[in-house]
């Protein structure tokens, strides 16, 4: 899809998706492969999200937003990543899925897109299931912009929370200047990777002298901290920072 055209969401059109695959990356992270069944196509742009209609007993379905985690070149389906929330109605629904259900969704929604023409350096900062949006950007744009300097910082708590490494490695094999780092806030002593919070990683690379666009997705506190650093301390132009927060 060209950058100028943004699909118009139709709130009344309910798209039906069958589940093709359920992947449990960790006990807290579940990925669903959804295939469209009731329409010829589902058009979206990388960075957008859908509203999952969660059935609620004796009432209207509860709507929950989830970023699409796959390329926007596919028109007949996508992947969604879910993080388990103990009291979440959608978590309960998603973790109860057996694999033969049909899911109802509306969309696409959202206005955080990959900025084109892109800057020389593109930095992704995400936590939890925030990788969804950034993975969609990378998968959708990698053939068009293979030589950009991509940096992805993926914040999780423990080693056991690390997921999606095989998928990131697959991207790395096709993008010569793509590096990714897991940043663990509560690692064990044996962890040799980055420690702390993703916002601490800003000091690890040069973004003041290199044209850079920042994309953030995930924890609101992380986004607030990074924005404070970039806007108030470094004086970065607001048009170079794009964020989608969820807590």
């Amino acid at each position: 899809m060209s950058q100028a055209q943004t699909p118009t969401p139709n709130l009344r059109t309910i798209y039906n998706f069958k589940l093709n695959k359920i992947i449990d990356h960790t006990p807290q992270i579940r990925e669903l492969y959804c295939e469209l069944v009731n329409m010829p196509a589902f058009n979206f742009r990388a960075g957008q999200f859908v509203m999952l209609h969660v059935p609620v007993e004796s009432g209207k379905p509860a709507l929950r937003a989830y970023s699409i985690a796959s390329t926007d070149q596919l028109k007949n389906g996508f992947k969604l990543i879910f993080k388990f929330v103990e009291t979440g109605i959608a978590s309960r629904f998603v973790w109860d899925l057996k694999g033969d259900e049909i899911l109802n969704m509306t969309g696409p929604f959202g206005k955080v897109f990959f900025q084109e023409p892109p800057t020389e350096q593109v930095v992704f900062l995400n936590t939890g299931s925030g990788i969804s949006q950034h993975f969609s950007f990378l998968e959708s744009k990698m053939s068009q912009y293979p030589n950009l300097n991509y940096k992805l910082f993926f914040g999780v708590r423990h080693e056991t929370d690390v997921y999606y490494e095989a998928e990131l490695k697959r991207l790395q094999a096709q993008l010569p200047n793509f590096e990714y780092h897991y940043v663990l806030s509560r690692p064990t002593d044996s962890w040799t990777g980055k420690r702390g919070y993703v916002q601490d990683c800003l000091k690890n690379f040069d973004y003041k002298n290199t044209p850079t666009t920042f994309y953030m997705c995930g924890n609101g506190a992380m986004i607030k901290d990074v924005k404070k650093q970039l806007f108030e301390i470094d004086g970065i132009d607001k048009s170079k920072v794009w964020a989608e927060a969820f807590d």
């Binding site: 695959k21 992947i23 990356h25 990925e31 057996k98 033969d100 997921y163």
Partner: protein
């Protein structure tokens, strides 16, 4: 062994739970044979379900009074599956007056073929090609297992029609359990009341049969083995195995669950071979292989994939 079980994924646990339930149901065939020496079919169902209900309620009340109190909504939730279970028992029992046990078992097993379609029609589930193929293979496996080709009369009579009704209610039973499984507060309580509703449904027919055939509610002479068989049926087959089915169906699709439930049949033949010394011929072994193969193929295809880290 318990530590290894605890380490399994929810899906693998569910598969093991239904395999265990299938084994218990398979063993129930021998207990039914022993109990029928003193009891009639209808009084056997009555005592089995009554004992199960009383024991189930007493166990929960004594050992987990909080759950006993909190799980009241399960009484209502279990109504549909209880009615379907009771109807299955009634129709199968009544059908046996007009058809053979072999044909009855074969027709009842039609639920494995019906479930993918019925789940689509009534619960808007996907119709998966794998489920249809596995169901069809298992159904063919049943024909071999039951040695159907040696049946003298393969004509479809009224008994077969009634038993076909049992296949339909069995289909609904599995679908109702599947739909309720993730809503139940306590699977044990749900099962106890499923038993209760089934018991209530069968009660008028029991009274009718007792009057019509002058059958005593409790036989005048009864062997200890018959009573122990009924107790085994109440505790293990009704309380434990059906409880396992409900817990397993929290995770498994209706179709995979139905294939694993069908393991009852090969298990019954295997236990008859091991305990009663009954012979298994080549065709029957092929039938067992087909049923086991289709069950495990469905389990394999449906499994949630583990992501690499």
């Amino acid at each position: 062994m318990i530590a290894r079980y605890r380490g399994l994924s929810a899906y693998n646990k569910a598969v093991l739970q239904l395999i265990l339930a299938g084994s218990i149901w398979g063993l129930s065939f021998i207990c039914v044979l022993w109990a029928l020496k003193d009891f009639s079919t209808s009084t056997l169902i009555f005592w089995r379900f009554l004992f199960a209900f009383i024991i189930g309620e007493a166990v929960l009340f004594l050992f987990n009074p909080t759950e006993f109190k909190n799980s009241m909504p399960d009484i209502k939730l279990s109504l549909l599956s209880g009615v379907a279970l009771g109807a299955s028992l009634l129709l199968q029992t009544h059908g046996l007056h007009f058809t053979t046990a072999t044909k009855s078992s074969f027709i009842t097993s039609l639920y494995v073929v019906l479930i993918p379609f019925a789940s689509y029609v009534f619960f808007k589930k996907q119709v998966k090609v794998s489920h249809i193929i596995c169901g069809a293979i298992a159904f063919i496996g049943m024909a071999f297992l039951l040695n159907l080709h040696s049946e003298k009369d393969l004509n479809f009579n009224i008994g077969d029609l009634i038993t076909f009704g049992c296949a339909i209610t069995s289909t609904f039973h599995i679908m109702f359990v599947g739909a309720a499984a993730n809503k139940v507060k306590n699977a044990f309580r749900f099962n106890t009341y499923q038993t209760f509703w089934a018991l209530l449904l069968t009660l008028p027919f029991l009274v009718y049969e007792m009057n019509a055939k002058h059958i005593p509610i409790w036989p005048s002479a009864v062997e200890l083995r018959s009573v122990l068989s009924i107790l085994f049926l109440a505790v293990f087959v009704t309380l434990i195995a059906f409880y396992l089915q409900i817990v397993a169906q929290k995770t498994l699709t209706n179709s995979t669950a139905s294939l694993l439930c069908l393991l009852e049949a090969p298990n019954a033949f295997l236990f008859a071979y091991l305990i009663l010394g009954e012979k298994l011929i080549g065709f029957q072994i092929l039938g067992i292989i087909l049923i086991l193969g289709s069950s495990f193929l469905s389990v394999f295809i449906d499994r949630p994939k583990n992501g690499s880290t």
